[in-house]
């Protein structure tokens, strides 16, 4: 069947979205492919559709358990039952059952740490996997903002002669990240499809304030006078909670979201936001992946993001419906130093690495050793990976290099904030693109011609009230 036929029959669409068709054709012909598509452009169709045109299993590596579960649930909703998720949250017996029945699944979602388990690896090396999909593939790059050392091992497992076609998917990648993806996934002269990162319906504004207190005031004023739905990205879990409660005191419909909250609470908030019951989410960067909401009107950053790629990914969650949307970044003179501190803290330093290695040599369990050497969880994953593969001296040098690279990324981000050039143009330049046509609502440097829409929309006051318990039961079950 031709791919348009499959599109219609399996997915109910008449047309592809921009960028999808070329990727799908390459994947079906067995070419290694890198696809850089902005969030909301239908990345998952790029592997789901080819699966129906190919024999064998599709293995999808996905970095977040929650994201994986959302995707599995979404596919089941579409009527595809031959789909399963394999991750470390499964009980032993569940895992055994799934492994025993593995043959009956067409789509297998798997977390990288699961893939490196011996019995799992050997299973997939011997079965008929025709397509290996690496979702959020930028996680493989140590230069990226989301580096996950487990990703580096993926390529090592599928290096044989009969290895499957590889499709690397991501929303954002610059040349350095592309080079890393190619190298570590051992891609064979991959075709690169890149959809422009430009989102003409989103305007970019940089707003200078003098203190953290002014940021709070600005956000209060903004959420009271303009409309959501919107996401306010903040630097820490604590700040997310604090800001949400400040806004609630103003009667602004808001809630906080971060990885420190319980699963149920996170699910409730996500649903409320999608349902339009809550208009503002104060979140860490944990919020966003896998959340399908087309009418997000504003993204506000209350802190300076560590890298432009991450910033663009977060901003890209606005305006998927194509309507005008606004991205605003608030910065104060203290931000630069604060971000530098966070970056440095995330990477183990020479003294810590040496101490850590000595403790390990004394047979102290690695998690304890990391704590004693005051190395963070991420830092530990990074250093464990490298210590397995190189000498400690090399690892120390590499850490230094990584910190310098992060610093360089921060500098780029700062340039974007302080630039007197068109912000949109600068963003595009970072991804090797030129700006072809100018938006009416461009950026705070060029001026935003028409932002009345923002002011015209009324903010929504929080008015959620508990029901009586009997009333609630009847509403749910009748």
């Amino acid at each position: 069947m031709d791919i348009r036929g499959i599109l219609k029959e399996k997915f109910g669409f008449d047309e592809f979205r921009p960028g999808q068709e070329d990727v799908i054709r390459d994947v079906i012909t067995g070419k290694d492919t890198i696809a850089i598509l902005p969030t909301g452009m239908g990345k998952s169709l790029c592997y789901q559709l080819p699966a129906y045109a190919m024999d064998g299993q599709v293995l999808i590596i996905s970095p977040l358990v929650s994201l994986m579960e959302d995707q599995v649930a979404a596919m089941k909703r579409q009527g595809e039952k031959r789909v399963v998720a394999l991750n470390s949250f499964l009980s032993y017996s569940e895992k055994q059952r799934i492994m025993a029945e593995m043959g009956q699944y067409k789509f297998v979602f798997i977390s990288p740490e699961m893939l490196v388990q011996k019995n799992v690896t050997s299973h997939f090396q011997t079965t008929n996997v025709t397509l290996l999909v690496v979702d959020e593939a930028h996680c493989i790059s140590q230069w990226g903002f989301d580096f996950r050392p487990d990703y580096l091992r993926i390529g090592e497992f599928f290096s044989g002669s009969n290895r499957p076609t590889v499709l690397a998917l991501t929303a954002t990648a610059d040349d350095k990240v592309i080079a890393d993806m190619t190298r570590y996934l051992q891609l064979k002269s991959p075709t690169i499809h890149r959809h422009s990162v430009d989102r003409p319906n989103i305007s970019y504004s940089m707003v200078k304030v003098n203190s953290e207190g002014e940021k709070t005031e600005w956000i209060k004023e903004r959420t009271l006078s303009t409309a959501g739905p919107g996401i306010i990205y903040v630097a820490s879990r604590k700040r997310a909670d604090e800001l949400a409660s400040i806004l609630q005191q103003q009667n602004v419909s808001s809630a906080s979201y971060h990885a420190g909250k319980e699963q149920e609470d996170r699910a409730f908030i996500q649903e409320q936001f999608i349902n339009g019951e809550i208009h503002w989410i104060c979140a860490t960067n944990a919020f966003g992946m896998g959340i399908h909401k087309d009418d997000v009107r504003q993204i506000i950053h209350e802190h300076v993001p560590q890298a432009i790629a991450g910033y663009i990914q977060e901003v890209g969650r606005a305006g998927r419906d194509g309507d005008l949307s606004a991205a605003t970044l608030l910065y104060s003179p203290d931000d630069e130093g604060r971000m530098r501190f966070i970056i440095q803290e995330n990477f183990p330093k020479e003294r810590e690495i040496r101490y850590y290695e000595r403790l390990i040599a004394e047979n102290i369990p690695s998690s304890e050793a990391a704590e004693m050497a005051s190395i963070h969880e991420t830092g530990k994953r990074v250093i464990d990976y490298y210590l397995e593969r190189m000498t400690i001296e090399e690892a120390i040098l590499l850490m230094d290099e990584l910190i310098r690279e992060k610093e360089a990324q921060l500098q780029k981000m700062l340039r974007l904030i302080y630039t007197n050039q068109c912000i949109r143009k600068e963003v595009l330049a970072c991804f090797g693109e030129n700006l072809h046509s100018k938006s009416k609502s461009c950026c705070s440097v060029c001026g935003i011609e028409d932002d009345r829409w923002l002011m015209d929309m009324k903010s929504i006051v929080y008015n959620k009230k508990c029901m009586g318990w009997q009333e609630r039961l009847i509403a749910i079950l009748g």
Binding site: S91, S245, L477
Partner: protein
């Protein structure tokens, strides 16, 4: 209800015989010899493991609050004691209806199942067969799928039965109004989203931690009703295997099996490659749990009687004090006597 009031209650039972950290271990449900022993000796089963994830900062805050209010004082050897004011305050506490010993955190598994069942039934009732499950845990999803397998979910009768059972159970449970509000608002249905702890706290004008404690207590009340009612078939199935089957730790179960096969303590220690002191802890656990525990294999009946009488006279369960009264007995023997003979509530 809040953490400090529960802690005050706990301290009133441990009065002057334990450090404040014994309270933290108890609330978290630490399965160590010492904590399990405390639970038994001081009659604290109700509070065992009701907050498995309690942070020490939160606990310290509650403890400091009691201290600053002048309810407790810390003695020289860091034991914690009620003050005169504390004693009065204990009298004013509401009665708590936790049953931590029997559930140990698995009441949350029960609620996970219940909420997924309710969400599924609510959606199917209006013909919606696909939705994002509110519970992501595979074990819970599998359990619910099995339970609902072959049920006629598309007919309104099933939803009606479930609704009726819930109403009955909530009415019988002696929950207060807030608890009923909390539990029903943590459930979700078609087009009805759940309420976060913070949202409930704002609406009910309570603090979020109090809400969670009320919620846990309400689940214990609900489970009690379900277990003792024959007319709640769906809820009974939902509560299957939620109550702990054995009160022994897994490791103690293994030790018990070897002991039943006739091995001595030393032999068990060698077979299991464990220290004798660990095996001793297991025996103390067994003495607490097992009414048939053969105490006289370890001490004479006379010694056991004497220790129990002395403990009553002195009003203490502290080993060091009792040991000084019975030089000829080992600590281990005294622990066994207290375990076997104070078994159950104090």
């Amino acid at each position: 209800m809040n953490l400090s009031s529960i802690l005050l209650k706990v301290i009133s039972k441990l009065d002057g015989e334990r450090t404040i950290n014994a309270g933290l271990h108890l609330l978290r449900g630490k399965r160590s010899g010492q904590t399990l022993q405390d639970v038994e000796y001081y009659g604290l089963k109700a509070f065992f493991g009701i907050l498995p994830k309690l942070h020490s900062e939160q606990f310290d805050k509650a403890a400091n609050l009691l201290h600053d209010s002048g309810f407790i004082s810390i003695l020289n050897d860091s034991l914690v004691q009620l003050t005169e004011r504390g004693l009065q305050a204990v009298g004013d506490l509401p009665s708590f209806h936790f049953n931590g010993w029997d559930y140990r955190g698995s009441e949350m598994v029960f609620f996970g199942r219940l909420s997924l069942i309710v969400q599924t039934v609510s959606n199917f009732k209006v013909g919606e067969k696909s939705f994002m499950p509110i519970q992501k845990e595979q074990d819970i999803q599998t359990f619910v799928r099995k339970l609902l397998y072959n049920q006629r979910l598309d007919e309104p009768a099933f939803a009606y039965h479930l609704s009726t059972e819930l109403k009955l159970a909530l009415n019988r449970s002696e929950m207060n109004e807030s608890q009923k509000t909390i539990i029903t608002h943590r459930l979700v249905g078609h087009g009805l989203t759940g309420w976060t702890w913070n949202q409930l706290a704002n609406n009910l004008k309570l603090n979020p931690n109090a809400i969670r404690l009320l919620f846990i207590e309400s689940l214990h009340k609900l489970l009690f009703v379900i277990e003792s009612s024959a007319d709640l078939p769906i809820l009974r199935k939902t509560a299957e295997n939620i109550k702990v089957a054995t009160y022994l730790t897994d490791s103690s179960v293994k030790t018990k099996q070897l002991f039943n096969r006739g091995l001595s303590m030393e032999e068990i220690a060698i077979t299991r490659k464990l220290k004798v002191s660990t095996i001793e802890d297991h025996f103390v656990e067994m003495s607490i749990d097992d009414r048939e525990f053969p105490l006289t294999q370890f001490v004479s009946m006379e010694d056991a009687e004497a220790v129990i009488i002395k403990a009553g006279e002195m009003g203490t369960r502290r080993l060091r004090l009792l040991k000084s009264e019975f030089e000829s007995l080992s600590y281990f023997q005294i622990r066994l006597i207290l375990g076997a003979r104070t078994g159950g509530e104090t």
